[in-house]
Symmetry: C2
């Protein structure tokens, strides 16, 4: 991998606040990391004047014109078929062709997944890529996968997610031996459906070189019981969104409380600095940037509603994954688990 | 159904704080509802003196000796096979035999489910019972099922859960036409696995007499987008526990913030009354009591760690389900959906 000598390809048109959020996000990152180079993919007449306003950014960037934009509500299959000249597709092609080290897009999630799988292909030996995100916990951030790329997962998929999550936690969180948990409805061996029980058998057998903790439950995710939580895309997506819903519910109730009386308002003013510090690590902008892990190239998905600061963080995730060469780590894991020896379950029965 | 003329059967030995929490919980309820009658199942030498201390409670109660207690970590199959004289089993038998109108237990969840299914059987036409809980939301409480009784669910199971959830919301929340949502990873028809897509087809077809809203996502649960959220027991259990984890994480961070400086402490003191009012509806004690819905009799599960106030709420849930005759409502729903016409999916294809 050529690493950060290559520019990062940005889908300048994807996301609710694009292209402004993308351009400003890149600008924020360039200030911190002047060695970065960018490629902006999108409608040149729109983005060129916006970029030209920022001298340093303009000097560090190329603009590649793309006629089409994938709509936020377009079906993935349609985007894949008809969007061959979309900003998203061209940005991914640049990674596939070795002209960029990573791609970041805040566009349509389904379309990005489908297009990235098609353009980048999976890493040798990987069955399915997984959307991998980082969530806050009591102690340090927790890696969660799959967040929605795979609705149905076999036990072998889950076992590979454990290895991919392990590699990701090493690359992104700098952990030397991350603890891996498998999400289930209880901690006893007999609990859960066949896929989690079989994956548990494989991971527990020691044949996979990860630090396997065992089953974890929903509450364990944000308690930080393990560094990585592995689950299928259906459950992972719902768990993450439910947690978001819970925090919004509590924040909303507290906000109402703080403004419900003069006393409460005054109390809030006094406690505010401390509250801000305490809640800082839950700032969704700092957690923005999920990778489609398991592909032969780095493709990072930013939240569709991302602002500049938030999009900058998605670029940071891409940068770190390139620097830490996460894909080499995944390939390494697969080798250590015995190349060509899948399916894993058959090995431990 | 004979209703509340019959006593409520209480498993006096189930739960971490039993028998004290059970006895005190019953006492709290009796104060509010002097017409209630109780049967306490458990070790008479232990519970009789505790009950005798409270004259009104003693007068309203019978004590039925049970030699055995189901351990909190006992396997459901073992509890079912060997626990024929357990306090849990005898309490459920009383409901099955028409000697009690409902049973409440804070004991081993798996054992209670297995024993209740065996002792009470399912309502005619119901394939599978579902653990049904109530969670807070932005507006009013939301009914959530299944919370873990069924790890794998067919589309027909989900369709029946929709009807059961509808009956429960009418009985417990007094709604005349509850909105029913089906939990999924997106709101488009093409999203999700086959079971949710098929259940969606059936519910959308209008052949089932519920007010079907469509797919909802994880964040919709606590936003109160619908009055009822239907899902399989694997996803439901994980979603609920993840939400609990999220709230604990935020509460923990805020608690730390409030005690981090003198200013913050003072601020908390000033805002505390308002905060308490705002968070009151999230009090887990007020939400305690999940029913195993779809059985031919009322069996309510209290949280294992319930204190007296919390256990009292589980009794209140049982009482309300008896008064509102939730099982008659479920039977009615099944009839309106066309008795004997299952499987539902075949009808709409």
């Amino acid at each position: 991998m050529a690493g950060l000598q290559l520019p990062i390809a940005l889908d300048a048109m994807g996301g609710d606040k694009a292209p402004e959020s993308v351009i400003q996000g890149a600008r924020l990152m360039l200030k911190q990391y002047p060695q970065l180079r960018f490629q902006f993919y999108g409608r040149e007449p729109v983005i060129a004047p916006l970029i030209a306003r920022h001298r340093a950014l303009a000097a560090a960037s190329d603009i590649i014109h793309a006629d089409d934009v994938v709509a936020m509500d377009e079906k993935p299959s349609v985007a894949l078929r008809t969007g061959r000249k979309s900003s998203m597709r061209l940005a991914l092609d640049a990674v596939a062709d070795g002209r960029a080290c990573a791609c970041v897009s805040a566009g349509n999630t389904g379309a990005l997944m489908a297009t990235a799988k098609f353009a980048l292909k999976t890493l040798p030996g990987i069955y399915r890529p997984a959307i991998t995100a980082t969530v806050p916990s009591k102690s340090q951030p927790v890696v969660l996968l799959d967040m929605g790329a795979n609705i149905d997962c076999t036990s072998d998929n889950l076992v590979q997610f454990a290895m991919m999550g392990d590699a990701y936690a090493r690359a992104m969180l700098g952990l030397t031996n991350p603890k891996i948990g498998l999400l289930n409805v209880g901690s006893e061996d007999m609990k859960g459906h066949d896929e989690v029980k079989d994956a548990h058998k494989v991971l527990r057998s020691g044949s996979i070189p990860v630090n396997y903790y065992g089953f974890v439950e929903g509450n364990d995710i944000l308690e930080g019981t393990t560094d990585v939580v592995v689950t299928d895309g259906f459950t992972g997506n719902i768990a993450l969104k439910t947690a978001e819903g819970a925090s919004r519910l509590i924040y909303g109730a507290l906000k109402e409380a703080y403004s419900s009386s003069t006393m409460a308002k005054l109390g809030y003013l006094l406690a505010r600095p401390a509250i801000r510090i305490a809640l800082r690590r839950f700032d969704p902008r700092k957690l923005n940037g999920a990778i489609l892990l398991g592909l032969n190239g780095i493709a990072v998905k930013s939240h569709g509603g991302a602002d500049a600061k938030s999009f900058a963080n998605a670029i940071r995730v891409a940068m770190q994954l390139v620097e830490q060469d996460v894909n080499a780590k995944i390939t390494e894991e697969l080798k250590r688990a015995g190349a060509g020896q899948t399916p894993y379950l058959a090995q431990v029965l």
